[in-house]
Symmetry: C2
Subunit: 333 residues, 2 copies
DNA sequence: CGTGTGTGTGTAATCGTTTTCACGGGGTGC
DNA sequence: GCACCCCGTGAAAACGATTACACACACACG
């Protein structure tokens, strides 16, 4: 591939001039055309590795995502990618696969590659490595999941309003024994959703006893199915279940079908994260929709602020309730 | 961040020695420990940008994917990422979003970044830029979709056996008027699936007239829904529909529900690509499963062969039929 | 005892850019 | 007509690594 020296020779100028023309630095009037012609003829493209070495800017952002096959994170990644691209950055995606050690490994590689900034949707306790990121001075923004003890802005959705609305929704429909399926205790996201849901229900005089709180080891369908099984085997089974992650809801739905129970007649079902698929299930599932694309955009914006040395504060965007038919209300799907 | 010179000074050796120790080049016996100690103390990590410039190897692979929100491609990306990582490469993902010009744009950026090799699951007619990739000498492997006129190995699934089996399956279940929903004519994948399905049906004496071939403009649910609508409005509607992409199947399913038709009683439904979700629909959908993870692995393997100068030939892995209940056979879901 | 071989190390060139610094020339202000 | 300034340009120094080459030393062999 042609390099800048080839272009310079062909245009009869020095490499410095070529560089300046290409970066629009000094508005060179007449040589400019010669240089551009040479560039065109040779099909020259600047080597961004060399440029990165010199300028200490790679033009790439890193995104660590906890599970690439989870539609919520996929949409998030898609949004981030879009936003980054439109600002001239490309995106290196690292898939942590919910395994902290793999996450650490990936973060290290990204630091070695001198990405300009890092977005992390953390898989649990990767805080040791995250501390190193902060120490290294690489701009960092947390996404969807906050990490205690890490001093970086966090962009995520606030479920309070939606969960409050949901509690009212369920109460109005006569559901009195709600249950919730959450991530294992200690996961900030899970704990928070549980707490918010519980207090929201309390406002309507509805209790959420521990027997109707199921913590799954993983965020997969099987976990959701197990929890649902446990609920149905209770002496007094719940009449509504909130699954706090979309994959778990699928498993829960399976168990209901396997027992021949109908949604919403025998059981109301609500899912956290409104991935497009849930509009196509039977019945369409009532969901708590996080503003996924906005989250992605806001995160990139915050990260860019940090990169450019401006201050960036945390962002909390409201999630909202999307009522469909899975709780009993006759709403259009 | 500390650089190699800092390490050299601290260890009282030259930068060359440090480099050699770190790359295991000459087995330096005694100074080795001093160097490693210095590395540890300073928390030194080699700058891969500088290394890439000097060695002309970045240790990164590029993956262009046509739609990051399509579960089939997501799983593919996940598999590729896994394979790449386990071989010490990291992955830069470019999401073409089914738009050729965005795809070209991304390919160019990846070339500028001097990735060591490129995997492309092409969104249609990006062949101009692909030709440039070939010309640039960057190792290229096509994934899932072949591109006419591009001389590069292609890794994809062969649907022949599965579609043959499907034809037999449908025939045995008494379905006589099959239909198919495909990508627009001219898309290699769509054309091929159509042709294979048609000949497979012919072997059972079942015709596939053009009126029961629906080509959608996009691969989205809405397209699938429109096609299904068209089929149902025929004087003689089909009694079985094969959707050749997973998202289109969702839309088709919606239309059936909207009309109160039941699967499989009123209509058999089969979907191409067995994304996990289809095991959880009601009823579970019979699917043609592509060996997604194997495809990803094989593609990375082929790409590495090219990178290392070994020859790599195209790979064709068999897809297989996963019968579930959506065609009427009483099979466990 | 001198020469050859091998091992371990340092010096310096190199990768392809950007950018600082210096320089030459043409214009303007006095 | 002289001093000054500004603008466009080129030469050369970075950036941080790898690696070709040379050198110094120790040892063995003739």
């Amino acid at each position: 591939m042609a390099n800048i020296k080839d272009v310079a020779e062909r245009a009869g100028v020095s490499v410095a001039t070529v560089s300046r023309v290409l970066n629009g630095h000094s508005p060179v009037a007449e040589t400019r055309d010669r240089v551009l012609a040479a560039v065109r003829e040779l099909g020259y493209r600047p080597n961004s590795v060399a440029r990165a070495l010199r300028t200490a800017r790679t033009g790439a952002l890193g995104l660590i995502i906890s599970d690439l096959t989870n539609p919520f994170f996929t949409e998030l990644a898609d949004a981030v990618e879009d936003a980054a691209r439109s600002l001239g950055y490309s995106l290196v995606i690292g898939n942590a696969g919910e395994r902290p050690e793999q996450q650490d490994d990936y973060i290290r590689t990204l630091l070695d590659r001198r990405i300009d900034g890092l977005l992390v949707s953390s898989a649990g306790s990767g805080s040791a490595m995250l501390r190193e990121v902060v120490a290294s001075g690489t701009p960092l923004v947390l996404l969807d999941r906050s990490v205690p003890g890490i001093d970086a802005p966090c962009v995520r959705a606030d479920g309070r309003a939606a969960l409050t609305e949901l509690a009212g929704h369920l109460a109005a429909l006569g559901r009195r024994r709600p249950a919730i399926i959450v991530a294992p205790a200690g996961t900030p996201t899970g704990d928070e959703r549980l707490a918010l849901f519980r207090t929201a229900l309390a406002d309507h005089g509805i209790p959420l006893p521990d027997e109707r709180v199921g913590a799954t080891p993983d965020l997969q369908p099987t976990g959701g199915r197990q929890m649902m099984r446990g609920f149905l085997d209770l002496p007094e089974p719940p009449d509504a279940v909130l699954a706090t992650d979309n994959l778990m809801a699928l498993g829960a739905l399976d168990e209901l079908r396997a027992r021949g129970l109908r949604v919403p007649d025998d059981m109301a079902l609500v899912v956290y994260d409104d991935v497009p698929w849930f509009a196509h299930t039977d019945p369409p599932l009532t969901a708590i929709a996080q503003p996924t694309r906005e989250l992605g955009r806001a995160a990139v914006r915050a990260l860019l602020a940090r990169i450019e040395g401006r201050p960036a504060e945390s962002v909390l965007l409201p999630a909202r309730l999307v009522p469909r038919r899975s709780c009993g209300e006759p709403t259009a799907g």
